[in-house]
C-alpha cells in the first residue's frame, strides 16, 4: 500500500457561471487526506464544502488546480472517466438517504454492484458488514418500511459494497434523531477502524465532526 495521500488537492478552484455572474465556489483549496483517515469537513452554508464533495466524488469537474484521487488525476478526466471513477473509487452517503423507493434494501445494495458490473454472489466479507450494520433481517423491506436510521444504514451498505477507496458522506445524520445519529456515526467510525475505510464527511454538527480523526473548516471557498 502506498504512503501517498489518497486525496491530494492543490489550489483547487471551481467557478460556476450563473447567467452573467461568475460564482467562485472554491478559491484555492489545499487538502491532503491519508489512506484510512476519517476527516470531517465543517463550515457554514456557501463555504464550498458541498462543491468540494462533488468534485472529489467525480460528479463535477474542477475549474483549475490539481486533485489526485487514489492515483487518478481528476482534472483531466472526461465525463465517461468520471462515471467510471464513481463506480469503483468512491461511495456516496447522502443526507436524504436517496434509496430507490421501488427496490428492496437488498436490491438497493445490489444495483450498485450491477452498475459496477459485479453481478454474482457478494463476497463473504460483505455479509459481515451487513451484520455490522444490523441489516440482515431488514434486507427484504422497501425503504418506506424502514426507519430513517435503517435507511441510512442501507445507504452506507450501498456505498461500500464495491469497496470504494473513499466513502463520501454528505450530512449523513442531518435527517436523523440523536439516537440514530449516534448509531450511524459509530458505524462510520467502526468501518473506518475495522476496515480502514477512508471517510470524508461533511457536517454542520460539531459533535458529529468529532467522530473524525480531524476536522477541516471551510469558509468562503477556502480551508481555514
Amino acid at each position: 500500500m502506498s504512503d501517498a495521500p489518497i486525496i491530494s488537492i492543490r489550489d483547487l478552484r471551481k467557478t460556476y457561471h450563473a447567467g452573467e455572474v461568475d460564482v467562485h465556489a472554491l478559491r484555492g483549496v489545499d487538502l491532503d487526506v491519508e489512506r484510512g483517515e476519517f476527516v470531517s469537513i465543517v463550515g457554514p452554508s456557501g463555504s464550498g464544502k458541498s462543491t468540494l464533495f462533488h468534485i472529489v466524488g467525480g460528479l463535477t469537474p474542477p475549474t483549475a488546480g490539481s486533485i489526485q484521487l487514489d492515483g487518478h488525476d481528476l482534472l483531466g478526466l472526461t465525463d465517461a472517466q468520471r462515471t467510471e471513477l464513481r463506480k469503483t473509487t468512491v461511495g456516496f452517503v447522502f443526507q436524504k438517504y436517496n434509496l430507490l423507493p421501488t427496490l428492496t434494501a437488498r436490491d438497493n445494495i445490489e444495483i450498485a454492484r450491477h452498475i459496477a458490473h459485479k453481478d454474482g454472489p457478494p463476497d463473504p466479507k460483505f455479509a459481515e458488514i451487513l451484520k455490522l450494520l444490523g441489516l440482515t433481517s431488514r434486507l427484504d423491506h422497501k425503504p418506506r418500511a424502514l426507519s430513517g436510521g435503517e435507511q441510512q444504514r442501507v445507504a452506507i451498505a450501498r456505498a461500500i459494497v464495491n469497496h470504494p477507496a473513499i466513502l463520501l458522506a454528505d450530512e449523513p445524520t442531518g435527517n436523523l434523531d440523536t439516537e440514530n445519529s449516534t448509531a450511524v456515526l459509530e458505524l462510520l467510525r467502526d468501518l473506518n477502524q475495522r476496515l480502514g475505510q477512508t471517510i470524508l464527511m461533511i457536517t454542520h454538527n460539531p459533535e458529529a465532526a468529532a467522530y473524525g480523526h480531524r476536522t477541516v473548516r471551510m469558509r468562503d471557498g477556502r480551508i481555514e
Binding site: G57, L59, T83, E84, N98, I115, A116
Partner: protein, 350 residues
C-alpha cells in the same frame, strides 16, 4: 396507474389495426367463399369492370349467343348485382338457371320465390336481422316478402328475382356476372382461351383466379386506409409513451441522480427507460390482441352489421411491431433527457 393507462392506450391502437385488418380479411374471405360456393368453373365480368365494382353490366344474351355454344359448357347463368351499402349487395338471380350450376340454394326454411316481389336471404342474414319466413323486408325502397332462408356460403346474402332487379335498376337484359360450369373442370384453361377469343375485352377468370383476387389490393382505397390507420397507430403510441416517459423522467429525476452518483452511464439510464418502454409496448400489444377478440365477438355476434371480422394471426407481429416502433420513438426524447441529466442538479431535485 400511469403504466396501466399507457398499456391500455397502446392496446387500443393495436386493436384498431387488428380490427381493420380482420374486417378486411373477413369480408374478402367471405366474398371469396360465397363465390366458390356457387360451383362454377369460370366467371365472366363485363369489359372495364373491376372486382368489387358492379356498376358495369353486360348483355345477358352473350350466354345463348356465345357461351352455350362452346364445348364442355354444362350450364351458364348470369346474375345482376346491385350494391346496397359498403360491401353489401342484393343479387338478382334466375333460380332455375342458377340451380343447374351446383344444385342451387340449400334451404333451411321455406323455398324458392314464386312471385316478382319475393326475397331469399341466407340464415346468417336472417339471424342477424331476426327475420322469419313471411316477413316483409324493406330493400331498394320497397317491401319484399321473405319466402326462403338458405344456408350461407353461396352467392349473396339477399337474393331476388333477376327480372325484377333488372326492371328496378333499368338494366333489362343485363347481368353483372356470368357463371359457367363445365362438364370437365380440367378443360377450364382451354375454355377460358376459347371464350376470350369470342368475348373480346371481357374479364374471364377461373374460379381460383377470381377468388385469389379477393385481397386488400383489389379493394379501392383499402390499402391506403390501412396505411392511415397504421400511421395513426404509430402516432398514438408515440404520444402516449412520450407523455408517459416524460412524466416518469420528471418524477424520477432524483432517482436518476442517485443512479448517476453510483456510476450509472447515460447508456445504462437510457437502457432502463427503453426496457420499460418495451414492456409497455409488448404488454399493450398482448392486451390489444385480446381486445381484438372482443371486437370480433362484438362485430360478428352483437352488432347486426353483416360485417365479418376474422383474426389474422400474421398481423399480430406486425401490429406489435407498429406499437413498439411508436413507443420507441416516443421514448427517445425523454430517454435522452434522462441520460443527459446533470447528477448534482438531479440529486438536488425536490
Amino acid at each position: 396507474m400511469r403504466t396501466t393507462l399507457s398499456i391500455v392506450a397502446i392496446s387500443i391502437q393495436v386493436t384498431m389495426v387488428l380490427t381493420l385488418v380482420g374486417l378486411s380479411a373477413g369480408m374478402l374471405d367471405e366474398q371469396a367463399r360465397r363465390a366458390r360456393g356457387i360451383g362454377a368453373d369460370i366467371i365472366i365480368r363485363p369489359p372495364s369492370s373491376s372486382l368489387l365494382n358492379f356498376g358495369l353490366n353486360m348483355n345477358a344474351d352473350v350466354i345463348p349467343k356465345f357461351i352455350n355454344l362452346q364445348p364442355h359448357v354444362a350450364a351458364a347463368t348470369g346474375v345482376l348485382v346491385y350494391p346496397t351499402g359498403m360491401l353489401n349487395y342484393i343479387t338478382g338471380v334466375d333460380l332455375s338457371e342458377f340451380s343447374k350450376l351446383n344444385g342451387g340454394f340449400r334451404f333451411v326454411q321455406g323455398g324458392p320465390f314464386q312471385g316478382a316481389d319475393e326475397m331469399l336471404v341466407d340464415s346468417y342474414y336472417a339471424d342477424q336481422h331476426k327475420y322469419h319466413l313471411g316477413d316483409a323486408v324493406t330493400e331498394l325502397n320497397r317491401p319484399w316478402r321473405l319466402t326462403g332462408i338458405y344456408q350461407p356460403g353461396m352467392l349473396a346474402r339477399q337474393v331476388i328475382p333477376l327480372a325484377t332487379l333488372q326492371d328496378l335498376t333499368g338494366s333489362r337484359g343485363k347481368v353483372s356476372v356470368i357463371y359457367v360450369k363445365l362438364d370437365d373442370p380440367d378443360k377450364t384453361g382451354e375454355m377460358i382461351t376459347s371464350l376470350a377469343e369470342r368475348l373480346k375485352d371481357y374479364k374471364i377468370f377461373s374460379m381460383q383466379e377470381y377468388t385469389d383476387l379477393y385481397s386488400v389490393n383489389s379493394v379501392p382505397m383499402l390499402r391506403e386506409f390501412t396505411i392511415v390507420v397504421i400511421a395513426l397507430g404509430v402516432l398514438v403510441g408515440f404520444l402516449v409513451v412520450f407523455l408517459s416517459m416524460y412524466t416518469a423522467v420528471l418524477e424520477r429525476t432524483r432517482e436518476i441522480g442517485v443512479l448517476k452518483a453510483l456510476g450509472a452511464s447515460p447508456g445504462y439510464i437510457l437502457n432502463i427507460l427503453l426496457r420499460e418502454t418495451t414492456f409497455l409496448a409488448v404488454a399493450g400489444s398482448l392486451l390489444g390482441i385480446l381486445l381484438s377478440y372482443v371486437t370480433r365477438f362484438t362485430i360478428n355476434d352483437v352488432i347486426h352489421s353483416s360485417l365479418i371480422q376474422t383474426i389474422v394471426y400474421k398481423w399480430w407481429l406486425i401490429a406489435a411491431a407498429i406499437a413498439i416502433v411508436g413507443a420507441m420513438l416516443g421514448a427517445i426524447y425523454p430517454g435522452l433527457k434522462a441520460a443527459r441529466q446533470d447528477a448534482i442538479e438531479a440529486l438536488a431535485y425536490e
